[in-house]
Symmetry: C2
Subunit: 340 residues, 2 copies
């Protein structure tokens, strides 16, 4: 007895829509992409047919014939898990969605070779644009990006070596400004950041701290600079380590990840008075920073806006603007609260 194989219902094609509307496929194509080019009557018939057949266009075919209009963009962020990038991501997806562009996402895990293979993987789908949070790339990655022929936006830092478009704040300036703020109020200001060798941003922030010290004519004491991985525990641990130093540290600038939160919680546990015993300041205005009894002074970075404007630049390029577009500096603010 022959077994009945249920063939997968084939997708409705543009041809089918055309037949249903008694038009040619070409006219349907036009009606969908540039409605102003067809008569009202035709447009209506097409829309009707699309609806009745639940037609879902095939962008593989469209993108194949018309490269650069795949309506698919790609973003690479250091970590999918890290909520820091979530706001930027939302800015990107929301802005692109308006134009019907969807987003592929990947996490590079802060590794250059992972970013490289991710870029290669993404390019196989012929995205119409790429958004990269990192500004440091392997040589082969740069080669791939240059050859891709689509707009690239970097959002991690105001890099001096942009590939194409840049939307960011200056990690150097932000860290320097906060360090200056602390140096005006406290004598011995320590710095806790992420590992400079692992990230351009961490390096820039530390550079900013050092520059502020230099400008203020204060000595750089390497014992007051800690590099650590992210995480609450590391924030807490860096804090206790710095508190043992003599002469006593007055203030600590936690320049990355959730380190400040971990430190503040440690102060709670130990009963240390912030800011009297120790002042602390953070980088990035986590929503929770303002919830502590001693609310946390920190830098506000417009993360959502970075995503939105990055996507907008991308759209500008897709609209045909081939000219040079200077880097966009979205700036930052110090949010002065009670902890420093």
């Amino acid at each position: 007895m022959p077994q009945t194989i249920r063939a997968r219902a084939p997708h409705v094609r543009m041809k089918d829509v055309a037949a249903h509307a008694k038009l040619s496929a070409m006219t349907v194509s036009r009606a969908l992409r540039s409605p102003e080019q067809v008569s009202e009557e035709t447009l209506h018939r097409v829309q009707q047919a699309v609806k009745e057949l639940a037609y879902v266009p095939n962008r593989l075919a469209g993108g194949l014939k018309a490269p650069g209009r795949s309506q698919l963009a790609a973003a690479i962020i250091p970590s999918v898990r890290d909520s820091l990038f979530a706001a930027t991501l939302q800015g990107i997806t929301e802005t692109l969605r308006v134009k019907g562009i969807n987003l592929m996402l990947g996490g590079s895990g802060y590794a250059l070779e992972d970013e490289e293979s991710l870029i290669a993987a993404f390019l196989t789908h012929r995205p119409c644009g790429l958004l990269l949070h990192n500004t440091k790339h392997s040589p082969f990655a740069r080669q791939l990006l240059r050859g891709a022929g689509v707009p690239i936006v970097e959002t991690g830092d105001l890099t001096r070596r942009p590939i194409d478009l840049v939307v960011s704040y200056s990690n150097f300036d932000a860290a320097k400004t906060m360090a200056q703020y602390l140096l005006q109020r406290y004598d011995r200001v320590a710095f806790v950041g992420q590992i400079a060798a692992q990230s351009e941003r961490a390096k820039e922030r530390q550079r900013g701290y050092r520059a502020a010290l230099k400008d203020a004519g204060r000595p750089v004491d390497n014992a007051l600079i800690i590099e650590t991985q992210g995480g609450y525990e590391n924030g807490a641990q860096s804090l206790t380590q710095l508190m043992q130093i003599k002469p006593k540290v007055d203030a600590i600038f936690f320049a990355g990840d959730v380190l400040v939160i971990g430190a503040m919680l440690e102060c709670n546990r130990r009963g240390w008075d912030v800011p009297r015993q120790i002042a602390i300041a953070g980088f990035d205005d986590w929503e929770i920073a303002r919830q502590f009894e001693t609310s946390i002074t920190t830098l506000q970075i417009p993360r959502y806006e970075i995503g939105r404007r990055a996507a907008e630049l991308l759209l500008r390029r897709l609209d045909g603007d081939q000219g040079a577009i200077p880097p966009i500096d979205v700036g930052f603010h110090i949010i002065e609260r009670r902890s420093a």
Copy 2:
């Protein structure tokens, strides 16, 4: 004088690789997809040529001819911004990446019609699978999903109306278990959750709480049930509201979002002793929950594992397993700490 138009460097095609390796395009195609089918010599020549030309395959073309092998999957989560889904997302991307499958991402904003349009938008790219965090879908969304002809994994709840594959824990069981835990230790246990009408999960959790009360023979007091949006402030506000009730509430179960954290911070601010004055428990083991001086008792949901196993099921389907696959219950644990 004719202006020189710099044509965008066309991409290297499989044809070019074939010519470079002195082979046919078909053999190159085979060498890349099923290396065991070509001779070692050929494989080597192809790899060499691919490298030398920096060939990036065009999956638009591949996916067009061989539907279902677009090597692109899609995930829809309620909110791109919410870190709750980040772990699941990471589980998905990491598992899919091993097989060279990339992920499109979108946030439905908890709205059925947004999910629907997102599904339609994603389907235009002919993904080889879909991962949905919601289990409630509009009728048209269901129609689209059924017609898509690709595996679908739902991860939000152990729904009774699965479309295809399901990987989750039971929101009902988890909430009921925690409520039972609290009812064994406290007399008047209140419930704070997200708005039931807006989310199936919120509804199930509240149902679990009510079921626990019923099983324990305790009355349901609607004054002890609060529905609220997420966020620290709402957690804090719900707490203070419940603390005004007479006779006094002993314990509060915060069943969603970061509500517990907000409540715990409010207790810190007001100097309320947890758990003596008020016991509190949460849903989801946020990393910060264990960092408080009074660490927070909560439910641990294996979020990363949900993503990983969801992706694994998807891969199983792509490997040709057409059989019925029963829902996977990843379970949950109560993490007993000091707050309740």
